[in-house]
Amino acid sequence: MLSIKNLHAGVEEKEILKGLNLEVKAGEVHAIMGPNGAGKSSLASVLSGRQNYEVTEGSISLDGKDLLDMSPEDRAREGVFLAFQYPIEIPGVSNINFLKTAMNEIRKYKGLEAMTAKEFLALSKEKQKLVEFDAKLVNRSLNEGFSGGEKKRNEIFQLAMLEPKLSILDETDSGLDIDALRIVSRGVNKLRSKDNAFIIITHYQRLLDYIVPDFVHVLSDGKIVKTGGKELALELEERGYDWIKEETVS
């Protein structure tokens, strides 16, 4: 589904991603771990098309289409979804109207009719239940005054509504209480299918107890330096990252 080859990208003059390779197939869940400042969020930003990142080398394709050629909105319409590490507040824009606009823009791109208010409402009810999202938050202004955890849960609610092909969760677990973590994970597990894929960026092995990944990658200094199965996360939890750095140097 997603194929990243020799990706070099940076901000202004600073190179942050330094030759990154990653293949994600439909149905898979990939976890990406790594020290602070390694470039995990930068990877997420480059995938979703944030403007201040410049790609200097390499390619990204999604189901054969060149992603780098597309605007951020077109990437979203093609099915790339980024659950932000720091979701943005937009005062006065109701959460639900925002989602309805997003949904219908994506449908328009795919040549589908806009959803009727009734259909949309029904879907929203269903998904609220699926990810146990508080109905009160649905009608409030988008993320405005939401607690840190509520913002994260709103990202997952949006994910559930938009049903993307490729979801990138950037530290969705940080800021969630233990119950919320379980609820969000359960939601993600229900949304997993053979047709979609997840990239889960996290610092904590605990999340991966709930959402069991097929692969765990270590991103360090702009590159993926180690790949393993679920057990790699456990090892990282125990030993930290230094041993990998040494391993790669030697």
Partner: protein
């Protein structure tokens, strides 16, 4: 890939959509202003002697007055002698039925989305239309008459209800108020008059639509609204003008009188031609609007959406004379290109337990400059007066400016005054967040701006809220990147 800064730039250069000119035969007075001009207008309008005297008095005051100097922009050169003070469609001075209205004129209003035939007009909205200087057509008159509601052109009111006009004209905005008010009093051409009798709730929105068409003319209309005890009315004014290279002056006066337990809602959607991207042309909008809550428990509410004009200079005010009376001012002002808005309100708390609320939202893009200027005055008898003021500014791009000038004068220490102010920038972060959900930048800006202005837009009569939202979006189209 278009980036959001480029898009923001583009919005700032967006063209004005109502800029067409209607080709109609006009009676136009040559430019110039002296006593004869005023006599001419008064005669043309077949006015009684007392009104001519009133005009002349205002004119003599005008001659001695100076342009104000306190505003937050350089006052342009106002060549009062270079303006024509009377222009009217020449085919017929007064229209009794639609058949007598020039078809070109009808077409103009259709084009603006304001059909004048009652079958076609907006359901539940009565419209008075002022084209250059003359009121063209008032719809739903009969129906309103049955309730004793008077809704007609100012000229007609002078003829048919002279006692009411005489009683209230100039009672809220005296000609001595400022030079533009004095000029208006001297040369006002037409406008709307509304009287709602005691205990009557006006069952439909009343609306006046102003259109400047002729070249080199000014528009000086006057609106007078009187709501008797326990009456209610919601009134809306809208306006557009063609694109012209020279600046045209619009100096209107609105006076509102609200008696005991009565309520008036006055909404404005101002979309005069703003000038081009370089600041050439555009309307100078120097307007004096004031209402008085004369009786106890009276309510006056101003709502304005200001997107047009090269310069907007207006401060719709409320005098809270009756005890327990309430005044509010809700405003969104957009400036882009080289537009300037210096707008706000003045609230005078005179009676006891009077309350007021001010919500001002300024949006600036391009090189636009937006100032909020407000005065809250608490008189010595206004025990327990309360005011809440909130001024929010949104900046799009980094060449525009937002300024706030809140003034408070209190002569009573039982007053409670609250003031909040924020300034935000439409962030690339906000736009990107929406982009990342499949929403393009243009729509993202529209959503963010409408979200920002929501509290004010929600105050508009429902029939116009959607229009106003679109107008905000259109007026900013191309400003964001």
């Amino acid at each position: 890939m278009e980036n959001s800064t480029e898009y923001l730039e583009e919005i700032a250069g967006k063209e004005y959509e109502h800029g067409f000119v209607t080709d109609i035969e006009m009676d136009i007075l040559p430019p110039g202003l002296n006593e004869d001009t005023i006599r001419f207008i008064s005669k043309k309008k077949e006015e009684p002697e007392w009104l001519l005297e009133w005009r002349l008095k205002a004119f003599h005051a005008f001659e001695k007055m100076d342009l104000p100097g306190w505003q937050n922009f350089k006052m342009p050169d106002m060549n009062f002698q270079g303006i024509s003070y009377y222009a009217a469609p020449s085919s017929k001075p007064k229209y009794d039925s639609l058949d007598q209205v020039d078809p070109e004129l009808l077409a103009t209003f259709e084009k603006l989305g304001i059909p004048l035939s009652e079958q076609k007009s907006l359901a539940g909205v009565a419209v008075d239309v002022v084209f250059d200087s003359v009121s063209v057509k008032t719809t739903y008159k009969e129906e309103l008459n049955k309730l004793g509601i008077i809704f007609c052109s100012f000229g007609e009111a002078v003829k048919e209800h002279p006692e009411l006009v005489k009683q209230y004209l100039g009672s809220v905005v005296p000609h001595s108020d400022n030079i533009f008010a004095a000029l208006n009093a001297a040369v006002f051409s037409d406008g709307s008059f509304v009287y709602i009798p005691k205990g009557v709730r006006c069952p439909m929105e009343l609306s006046t639509y102003f259109r400047i068409n002729a070249q080199n003319t000014g528009q000086f209309e006057r609106t007078l609204i009187v709501a008797d005890k326990e009456a209610y009315v919601s009134y809306l004014e809208g306006c557009t003008a063609p694109m012209r290279d020279e600046n045209q002056l619009h100096a209107a006066v609105v006076e509102i009188v609200v008696m005991d337990n009565a309520e008036v809602k006055y909404s404005t959607v101002q979309n005069w031609y703003p000038g081009d991207a370089e600041g050439k042309g555009g309307i100078y909008n120097f307007v004096t609007k004031r209402g008085i809550c004369k009786g106890a428990n009276a309510v006056l509410s101003w709502t304005q959406v200001e997107t047009g004009s090269a310069i907007t200079w207006k401060y719709p005010s409320v005098i809270l004379q009756g005890d327990n009376s309430y005044g509010e001012f809700y405003s969104v002002a957009v400036t882009k290109g080289k537009q300037i808005a210096d707008t706000g309100t003045k609230i005078y708390h005179l009676g006891a337990n009077t309350r007021s609320r001010i919500i001002s939202k300024g949006i600036s893009a391009g090189n636009g400059q937006n100032s909020y200027r407000g005065l809250v005055q608490i008189g010595s008898k206004a025990d327990n007066a309360r005011n809440f003021t909130q001024c929010d500014s949104m900046l799009i791009g980094d060449r525009c400016g937002a300024h706030t000038f809140p003034y408070i004068e209190s002569r009573n220490n039982t007053a409670t005054l609250e003031h909040e102010a924020t300034t935000s920038k439409i962030g690339e972060d906000q736009i990107f967040y929406l982009n990342a959900r499949g929403i393009d930048t243009e729509k993202a800006v529209e959503m963010i701006v409408n979200g920002f202005a929501k509290e004010v837009l929600n105050k508009l009569p429902m029939e116009f809220a959607v229009e106003a939202q679109k107008l905000l979006a259109i007026s900013l189209e191309g400003s964001v990147g």
